[in-house]
């Protein structure tokens, strides 16, 4: 039966986290049941305060074969990391 249900990706915002994080996927006939199923499958140990679900088919992913062209150019460009600035004391913790 579950093979007829579409796949959903589940994102949970934790007790102290600011962002929803991807925690896994599940099958459900529609969004409402995907939320319920996510509640039962992924928040049994009080992991979350908010759930997002999205149809897996709605996600566009980068292709593994394009890994080189996409990411290699960022290699050896350490100057892109904002670690060369002196932070004035008045700015406090960043």
């Amino acid at each position: 039966m579950s093979s007829e249900w579409p796949l959903w990706e589940v994102f949970i915002r934790g007790q102290h986290g600011l962002n929803h994080r991807h925690v896994g996927s599940l099958h459900a006939p529609d969004a409402e049941m995907a939320i319920r199923n996510a509640r039962d499958v992924y928040t049994r140990r009080k992991e979350g305060v908010s759930i997002w679900v999205v149809r897996s088919s709605e996600i566009t992913a980068s292709s593994p074969s394009e890994k080189g062209p996409l990411f290699d150019p960022a290699d050896s460009k350490i100057y892109r990391h904002p670690s060369f600035f002196d932070i004035p004391d008045e700015a406090g913790h960043m």
Partner: protein, 251 residues
């Protein structure tokens, strides 16, 4: 002196959640989808959790030193006080979900009312259990509507489930001496007082699910008084065998 009526009530509600919890747990590893499997196991665990609170309190009230485990695993079928509805076999998913829905709708109303109990422990346990039961009602209500108003086959199975389970719902609303005494003392509501609101809720859901409530008023009774169907004996045999084979064993 032990409060006999209160002990009786605590075993009625505790045995009811225990037997249903065990029934639902029978689906573990067998449900139609992994997601349903986990959801059902969660429900079963919630109910067993409620049982622990009710039966350990029952043991205290009885004052004979019996623990929750003694009451759950070392009593015979005729000593159980659960409603007949919850010992009905799972049969198919439709029967399981319909039984759950009919029970959840009653359970929610009962716990809301018990939160006003003059007995502080009863009201505390009811408050704790209420949060989980609110979710149970939401879930089983949703599934009843989806399956009732689903495919031709799911509709047929759901209508069959309503037809065979309906005669077991009447017992939820019968009053006896124990109920009247505890109601006079402000500890529990009279079971019959919950029926109107329950029917309104159930009727609304059944109609949204395109299901028809049977007209006949006949109700099977006996569970509350310890008179059970043959199904309870088999359930207890499986549930109690390990405890009885290894008395006093711990993890």
């Amino acid at each position: 002196m032990a409060d006999k009526a209160l002990f009786e009530f605590l075993t009625r509600i505790g045995d009811t959640t225990l037997v249903l919890g065990h029934r639902v747990s029978e689906w573990c590893g067998h449900a139609p989808a992994l997601e349903e499997d986990i959801a059902l196991a969660n429900t079963a665990l919630d109910l067993i959790g409620h049982t622990r609170m009710w039966l350990s309190r029952a043991g205290e009230v009885e004052g004979k030193g019996r623990t929750e485990d003694d009451l759950a695993f070392l009593r015979e079928a005729h000593e159980f006080r659960n409603y007949l509805l919850v010992e009905r076999p799972n049969e198919d998913f439709a029967v399981t979900i319909t039984r759950q829905f009919l029970f959840d709708a009653w359970h929610r109303l009962m716990l809301i009312s018990l939160q006003e109990s003059s007995d502080q422990r009863v009201s505390e346990i009811a408050e704790k259990a209420s949060k989980e039961v609110a979710y149970h009602v939401e879930r089983s209500t949703d599934l009843v509507v989806r399956l009732g108003d689903g495919t031709e086959e799911s509709h047929r199975r759901m209508q069959h489930a309503v037809d065979i389970l309906w005669p077991y719902t009447g017992e939820l609303f019968t009053d006896d001496e124990t109920d009247r005494e505890l109601s006079d003392r402000g500890i529990i509501p009279l079971p019959s007082s919950l029926e109107g609101e329950w029917k309104t809720h159930v009727d609304g859901v059944l109609s949204a699910a395109t299901l028809v409530r049977p007209e006949r008023e006949y109700a099977h009774k006996g569970g509350k008084a310890g008179v059970h169907t043959e199904h309870l004996g088999f359930l207890l045999a499986e549930m109690q065998v390990t405890h009885r084979a290894h008395p006093g064993a711990t993890w």
